[in-house]
Symmetry: C2
Subunit: 342 residues, 2 copies
DNA sequence: CATTAAGATTATAATATTATAATTTGTCAA
DNA sequence: TTGACAAATTATAATATTATAATCTTAATG
């Protein structure tokens, strides 16, 4: 038998084991002090806590997770800039924090490959729940999620496809339909529609469909050329305004699928000396912070994105907590906020 | 000896072990196919890949991390809404993704306790690197970070305190000093300053100090009541404008510490029929997307937040890649973008 | 004083991966 | 046909935690 040099003590990494050794107790006891303090006698508990404090020990959640006590929620979101998604993320983050969970964030694009890659990355970390924006497009991704058996909340369009698991969202169809009707009720007859690229984006598709449905019902002719797609920037909004008004001199209102675009368009009107809504009415979507303060104040669709984020997490946590009758589909309400721009 | 029922096969969780069994190979071989494919013969590799594909296996990164191959970067950020932080997060996220890392995001507040709690949470996941916004305030948090030996990048003010490890940022002092000088050069003599609450926020403190320094140098008297703190909303900006102009009829320019505030103030001017910059000049900070499109276009300080995020991650990855001469302090440049609002 | 029970603590095993060391297989030359 | 060497593969051990089962302590009771 080969004798090991006895004095060789490697600088133990800080873990329950090390803390236990210092206190003179078993690792399990340390673990319990952290997760089930009541099962440990007050004196032992005090000594352990002291040692933890003293050593600056932070329990390793990777190991806990492996053992089946994960506290991580994964999420895939579209680009944060200008999109109002930031508020949703904030909602998710706040609720995660409140529940003692951490949030792993991956930015995805609206393409099948990117989506699949993002989901795969997240699954690698074995999150206990996932929150996805917009319906999962690729069949492979769906299969992956399904077989992983992780609870999933999609923050998305309510109508249409069958959800993977749970859904939180609004009916984008309804919102757009309602806004279009609202504009018609105010007397506008030639209503244009501007959005960011709808390809691969459920929500935008539904909004456009809602707009179409309203026009049909109203008996308004719908020239396909009264719609434009632009990037989600203020400049995009301004350009859309220019394009549409050039094409149709008599256009009297434009419904933008995002406040960011609408705000850009309003600035363009100022530049041209056009009165809003006198020369043309502008409506947005999202009710961003600036909307109410804008000059003139922006008529828009108000959706509580922060609340959506919170709800999504809350549903996940409820499910994780063993609540079996968590609602599968939660539709949040919306409001048409009638301000002066339309 | 107690005999176990032989036929009892539990439904093996999907791992390298299970894949290995299915292919008829050792787990290590599967592991290598994933991380060092060159060390496995092409035929074996093909069979393993096939099995992985077929089973929908996603390697468990928790286990890899435990073994010392972590690919997670933790970050603490202030609230995302309205703050321009979204762009930084996007930059970090993009660069993380590019390097094959995942991003764990925790939202923090500018208080010592909250900061410490956030850092503790992140450390629990044993990230291989951390990115923090603003200098770490609490001594306990500093100690925690130091003893964890994780590379840290602070995205923060360059001047002042000693960094924990690496810093990326701009000199907020310089930017504010430069803008104030710029306003003076354009002939404005009574320049107000509006910011969001500076308490606990290094960057804002430095901006205010820069503003003061410029005023002193110019020989302008600095009434303390030419400064206001408001929440970071468009409404906050509007209210600040009202407050300051009511206090000082002759104020001729206001420097806002955020574009969000400046935009709100411009709207208030429109409401009052005040010409910008005729009646009063407005300057912002950040050069948000809307700034250039605003009517009138906003004079502002341009800082490339997206790039800051990218750089922060790149520095971390360089360090992790063994590059020992990674710069400790990186100061990004800035621009005074002179548009029409001032 | 032995017995019982409750309470507190400890031992064991399991989670999935991978660096390292050990072993097997294959090839070529002597 | 064996020895040497390289390539490919496998065995072992280590990472940190915790549910479970097992053990130990203490006090009270008959």
């Amino acid at each position: 038998m080969i004798e090991k040099p006895a004095g060789e003590k490697k600088p133990q990494r800080l873990g329950v084991r090390e803390i236990a050794k210092r206190v003179g107790v078993a690792p399990m006891t340390v673990s319990r002090v952290l997760s089930n303090p009541d099962m440990v006698s007050p004196e032992t508990r005090a000594r352990v806590l002291e040692a933890i404090e003293q050593a600056g020990f932070v329990p390793n959640r990777l190991a806990s997770s492996m053992r089946g006590n994960g506290r991580m929620i994964g999420t895939v979101v579209p680009p944060l800039i200008n999109s109002g998604i930031a508020e949703q993320v904030q909602g998710m983050s706040d609720q995660c924090h409140e529940g003692g969970y951490s949030m792993l964030l991956v930015q995805g694009e609206f393409t099948q490959e990117a989506e699949e890659r993002s989901i795969r990355t997240l699954l690698g970390w074995r999150p206990v729940g996932m929150i996805l924006q917009s319906f999962v497009q690729s069949e492979a991704a769906r299969a992956l999620l399904q077989s992983s058996a992780v609870p999933v909340v999609e923050i998305s369009e309510i109508k249409g496809r069958k959800p993977i698991d749970m859904v939180v969202g609004v009916s984008n169809f309804e919102t757009a339909y309602a806004m279009t009707m609202h504009l018609a009720a105010k007397g506008y007859k030639r209503i244009g529609f501007v959005s960011t690229p709808v390809h691969g984006n459920d929500r935008l598709q539904q909004r456009r469909t809602g707009y179409h449905a309203a026009l049909n019902e109203l008996g308004f002719t719908n020239h396909g050329d009264m719609e434009v797609e632009v990037p989600i920037t203020a400049q995009g909004g301004a350009e859309a305004l220019v394009t549409l008004t050039a094409r149709h001199k008599d256009i009297d209102a434009i419904f933008f699928s995002s406040d960011t675009l609408a705000v850009g368009a309003v600035q363009e009107c100022h530049r041209r000396g056009w009165v809003v809504p006198g020369r043309i009415a502008i409506a947005g979507y999202g009710d961003m912070d600036l909307a109410a303060q804008l000059y003139p104040p922006l008529t828009t669709v108000k959706v509580n994105r922060y609340e959506m984020g919170r709800r999504a997490v809350r549903q996940l946590l409820a499910r994780l907590g063993g609540d079996t009758k968590v609602p599968t589909i939660t539709s949040l309400g919306f409001e048409i906020v009638d301000r002066e721009s339309a």
